[in-house]
Structure formats: C-alpha cells, structure tokens
C-alpha cells in the first residue's frame, strides 16, 4: 500500500471513530431526554390535576360526564371561599408563625452547635457530631407517643406553641449536620487569621463563618422550613381545635366533613399551602444545591 492510501485509510478510520462518538453522544442525549420526560410527567400530573380540580365548581366535579382532566367553566370560587374563610386564615397564620419561629430557633441552635462542633475541637466533639446525626435517623413516628407524655405533662396539648417546641427537634439535627459539613470545608487558616486579627469566637462566627457559609445556611433554612411547613404527624397528634390548627392537618380536618369531600376546596387549599415552599425554592434553589453538595462531600 502506498503512503498516500495508508494516510487516507487512517483518516477514514479516524473519521468513522469520530462519527461513532457523535452517535453515542446522540443516544445518550435522547436517553436522558426520554427518562427526564417520563420523570417530569409522573411528577407534574398530580399538581396538574390539583390545579384543574381547584378551578372547577362542585357541580362540575360531581358531574359524571366529560373529561376530568379539563375544566369546562373555570372558576375561582374555591380560592375565594378559602381566602375569606376564617378557619383557613387561622391555619395559614398558625403555619406561618410556627414555621418562621421554628426556622429561626433551629438555625440559631444549629449554626452555633455546628460552629462549636466543627471548630472548637473540645473533648468529645467528634462523638457529639456523630450522635447529632444519629438523632436525625430516629423517625418522628417513633417519638410522638413518648413526646405526647411530655407535651401533656407541660400542659401544652392542643396548643400551637407546642409545635414550636417540637419542630426544632426534627430540624436541628439535620441542619447541624449540613452546617458541620459546610463549616468544615472553610479553611482553618481563615479562623486563625481572624484570631490573629483580633476577633473572638463570636466575631469569627458572625463576621466570617456566617457570611462565607451563606449557601449552607440557606440550604439548612430551606430544610427547616420544609420540615416545619409540611409536618403532619405532630399537629395531628397534639392539636384538635380549629383555632390551634395548622394548614396540613387543618385542610383535611376542616374540609372533609364526615364522608363529604369538598374536593375543589381541598385542592385549592393544597395549592395555596404549597405557594410559600414553591416561591422559596424557586428563588433559593441554586443555593440549596450548592449547600447540600458542599455538606455532602465534606465531613
């Protein structure tokens, strides 16, 4: 074979190799699009159905004819009913107060706990860090009966403030764990430089660690928010009157009367209840991911 033909053959081989790479990449892309498409459909069907039902009147929902996925005469009557319904307003207000206070309390505790566990290096700090995480592994469904005794003993059954006492026990361990991971990823020299610059531990935490670890703090905040906003078991177990109720339990206890399911109102209430998490996630998603991954690779 002459030199020219050999070169041509090599070039052709290289070309076919390149096109096979291209083909493989195409397949991979199509594969991911299909998988993601299925995933999106599965996850978005329930909210879509919720939205459709919430826009229907009770008559339209109970009508047997027609396609249940499509609204024929959209109405906001369900939403209007809820917005003007005093019980729903109370549930919403209670949920907001409980969640805000839970987030604040949990974050103050977990940021300070994580800082001392990650940085102060006192005797037993390693063991404590591990046990903080272990407490997170105990499911709330195991705890609610003994907790009932405690809540009863302090006279807080059917008092919404008991949730402010209880929710941090769910949020603090995981938030502390995220923050330990995040704080550990901050170079040790940073606090040493601050120590030499004249800062005390509180100043190091407030002026250096909190600003630097903001993505982690936001991630932990979102977690605490989600735990508190969506918790179902504790309010179900400890609260029973409408004036103390929060959204999660309030919606089903108030809008399901005996065997009458007010589907339109239930769906509208679910959408209104999901609004704050959706807004918060949409704005803070990037930080949430950054914070979780930093926590995951460290510690």
């Amino acid at each position: 074979m002459s030199a020219t033909t050999m070169e041509a053959a090599k070039r052709a081989a290289a070309h076919s190799h390149k096109s096979s790479l291209h083909r493989q990449r195409m397949w991979a892309l199509w594969g991911s699009y299909i998988a993601l498409g299925v995933f999106v459909v599965i996850f978005l069907v329930p909210p879509f159905y919720t939205l459709m039902t919430s826009l229907k009147s009770s008559a339209e929902i109970s009508a047997q004819s027609g396609n249940p996925w499509i609204v024929r005469s959209p109405t906001l009557e369900n939403f209007w009913y809820l917005i003007t319904y005093p019980n729903f307003q109370t549930f919403y207000f209670n949920s907001v107060v409980v969640t805000l206070l839970t987030v604040v309390i949990s974050m103050v505790i977990s940021v300070m706990a994580a800082f001392s566990l990650a940085r102060m290096g006192f005797w037993g700090s390693q063991t404590l860090s591990t046990s903080v995480f272990l407490t997170y592994l105990i499911p709330p469904s195991l705890l609610f009966i003994p907790l009932f005794q405690i809540v009863g003993a302090i006279g807080m059954i059917n008092n919404v403030w008991c949730l402010i006492l209880l929710y941090p026990t769910l949020a603090v361990p995981f938030c502390t764990w995220i923050m330990i991971g995040y704080f550990s990823s901050i170079p040790k020299e940073l606090d040493e430089a601050a120590l030499i610059d004249g800062a005390g531990y509180v100043q190091i935490l407030v002026k250096i660690f909190i600003p630097v670890a903001m993505p982690g703090i936001i991630a932990a905040t979102i977690f605490a928010f989600t735990v508190s906003w969506g918790a179902f078991l504790y309010p179900l177990a400890y609260l029973y009157t409408s004036n103390q109720m929060v959204l999660t339990v309030g919606i089903i206890s108030d809008l399901i009367r005996g065997d009458v399911f007010q589907w339109g109102k239930i769906m509208a209430a679910c959408l209104l209840a999901s609004l704050p998490p959706i807004v918060i996630y949409a704005f803070l998603m990037d930080y949430y991911v950054a914070g979780l991954t930093a926590g995951a690779t460290k510690g």
Binding site: P187, L190, E192, A193, I196, G198, A199
Partner: protein
C-alpha cells in the same frame, strides 16, 4: 517592634509525639529570621506556637520582653501571612486589610490612611475594591501581606507564603518581601522548606530537623560552614555530594582523603590539624557540585584533579550538571556548558578542596 525568644520550647502532642524538642532561639529586633527544614521538622509548629495558634507544652516564648505562653493570639500583637493567603472571601481587599483595625476600633480615617499606605508599599492601590476571587495568586499574597502591614505589629510571621505560587512569581514575590522588610523593618520570622528562599531572605537561617535546631547562622555561615551533615545536605542546590572515604597518610608527610585506590585527595595544609586525629578512620567527604567542576590546567592551591566516568549529562543553559557514580555513590559536578561530556566517557574534573567538608560517619558532625 520587638525581639522574640524561645527558651526550651517543647511541643508534645497526645500520645507523646514531640514535634518540637526543647528549642532555644533568640531573635533580635528588626531581624529577618528564616526557619527552614524538611516537612515535619517542627518549623511550622514553632511558628504557630509563637503566633499562639498552638499551645506550648513546655518552655517559654517571649515577645518584646513579656512571656506570652498564655496570651491569646490577638493580644500578642503579631501578624501572620499564611500559605493559602487566608483572605476573607466575602470581603473586598480594603475590608480584608481593615478587618483587624476595625476590630481594634481604630478611627475610620486612620484605617483608611494605613490601608492606603500599605497598598502603596505593595502596589495594590487599584485592587482595593475587588474581592479576593478576582485576584491572581500573587495579588492575593500581596493583600495577605498588606493585612499584616496595616496592623503595624511587633512581629511578622510568614508560614510558607510563597509555596502556592508558580516559580516565576515566587522569585518576584521573594524580592517584594525583602523590599517590604527593608521598608518597615519589623521583626520577621519566616518559615519555608525552600532553602533558596531561606538563603535569599534571611539575616539568619535556622535549620531544623526532627524537632531540633541543627544550626543557626547567617546564610553564608550555613552554606560555607555547616555544622552537621544534615545542614550540609539541606542547604545548597543541587545537594552536596557525600562520598565515603578514609583519612590516610599523604605525600610529603601530609594527610590525604582516600576515596578509592585511584582517587586520593591531598588534605589542604591548613586543615591538617583539624583532620589529623581522624587518621585511619572511616569518614564522609562532603563536596558541593559547584566545587567539583571542569579541569583547569592552571589550577589554584588545593585544587585537585579527579577523573570520573560520566553517567548522565544534564545541560541547564548557564551550566551543565554531570552525574557520576563513585563506588556506587552518586556524585554530581557542575561544569561549564562548553565542557564536552559524553555518557560512558571519562571526564577530567577539578575538586576544590578549599571547600571540602569532612564529617564523622555515624554522628554526621562536620569536623
């Protein structure tokens, strides 16, 4: 400005491991002292004990006439520059430099005056509003130095500040550090594993190994008059050649260093007294590559010809390194690039015996 002194300073970790084994070191006001040694020799630990970042297990550290063993870092009036700069990532360059002053409640105009002055010295004026992530490595290190300068502390501590920079920038920053010291004249303790940094920067070099100080002296001293084999081998690049030898009788009633049957080097007459008592003993000859060079017909006193079989030739541009084996021991010579050396051929060389060192085989002490 202050003198620093370490007296019998010990650092012992849990489990009884001693990182620093009772060192004594006196550093006078305005002095630039470099602690140098291999990884794990205790130099950084010593610096961190002076800074107050490590507790002292034994002994005393004095800064400016006071024992500071139990004084927290912020009250020691020191400033430290770290290897990874340790700049506060969320603050601008100005705020990074002003942080220590703000914590000490300096008035705003004084802070601005000091930061501007430091920025002028370090030539970082235009960077003051930037965040550290928008700076190059060299600029970051300058900011870290600026943060130290603005505080006008008693002592500057540098912990391997140039190790993260590329080779070219390192040389440039080395000069900058020297210039800054000439300007502000603050007592400086500088830790490095790079002996060239140590030699170029230091008023005095402290060579450490295994938690003890092997030698303290001027760069000239530690290079020309090493006290131990470790110092002789650590200072100088490429490292000194260590060749097993025996002290024997030489010609005309003199002494000789016998390396092999073929290589017998006459001891310079002025060293006869020093080496006489080692006659007949197994010793180690130390000769730097720069003192083993191409053969010159017109030699100087105590220049001795040695012929060696070339193993590897490494041209470096301004000089050429030639490697040999003498009785299984690697030997390196630093010859003029015009010298013709081919692997496998004998190369005539000159050994400058005025610069030779002789050390005890077991203790490594230079005699």
């Amino acid at each position: 400005m202050a003198e620093v002194s370490c007296r019998k300073v010990v650092k012992e970790y849990e489990g009884g491991v001693q990182a620093v084994k009772g060192i004594d070191l006196e550093i006078s006001d305005h002095e630039f002292v470099v602690l140098v040694g291999p990884s794990g020799c205790g130099k950084s630990t010593t610096l961190r004990m002076i800074a107050g970042l490590e507790e002292i297990s034994g002994g005393e550290i004095w800064i400016g006439g006071d024992v500071v063993n139990d004084v927290p870092p912020r009250d020691r009036d020191i400033a430290m520059v770290f290897q990874n700069y340790a700049l506060y990532p969320h603050m601008s360059v100005f705020d990074n430099m002003a942080f220590g002053l703000k914590l000490r409640k300096f008035p705003k105009d004084e802070i601005k005056r000091r930061v501007d002055e430091a920025a002028r010295i370090l030539d970082i004026g235009p960077l003051l509003e930037r965040k550290p992530r928008a700076l190059s490595g060299g600029q970051r290190q300058r900011v870290a130095m600026g943060r130290a300068i603005v505080r006008n502390p008693k002592v500057f501590l540098f912990d391997e500040p140039l190790s993260n920079l590329d080779a070219k920038l390192r040389v440039q920053m080395r000069t900058e550090i020297k210039k800054v010291h000439q300007t502000v004249k603050t007592t400086t303790i500088y830790v490095t594993h790079d002996q060239i940094e140590a030699m170029t920067l230091a008023d005095r070099v402290v060579v450490m190994n295994h938690g003890v100080i092997e030698q303290v002296g001027s760069p000239h001293d530690v290079y020309h008059h090493p006290k131990t084999r470790f110092v002789a081998g650590f200072i100088g690049s490429p490292a000194m050649n260590f060749i097993p030898c025996r002290v024997t009788d030489g010609t005309n009633g003199g002494l000789a260093i016998k390396v092999t049957d073929q290589i017998v080097l006459p001891v310079p007459p002025q060293r006869m007294d020093r080496y006489g008592k080692y006659k007949g003993r197994e010793m180690v000859l130390g000769l730097r590559p720069e003192h083993l060079f191409e053969y010159h017909e017109q030699g100087k006193p105590n220049w001795s010809r040695v012929d060696l079989l070339t193993d590897v030739v490494e041209p470096m541009g301004m000089e050429t390194m030639v490697h040999f084996f003498v009785e299984g021991t690697p030997v390196c010579a630093r010859v003029d690039p015009s010298t013709h050396a081919e692997p496998g051929e004998m190369l005539p060389l000159t050994a400058d015996l005025n610069q030779m060192h002789l050390m005890e085989k077991d203790s490594g002490v230079v005699v």
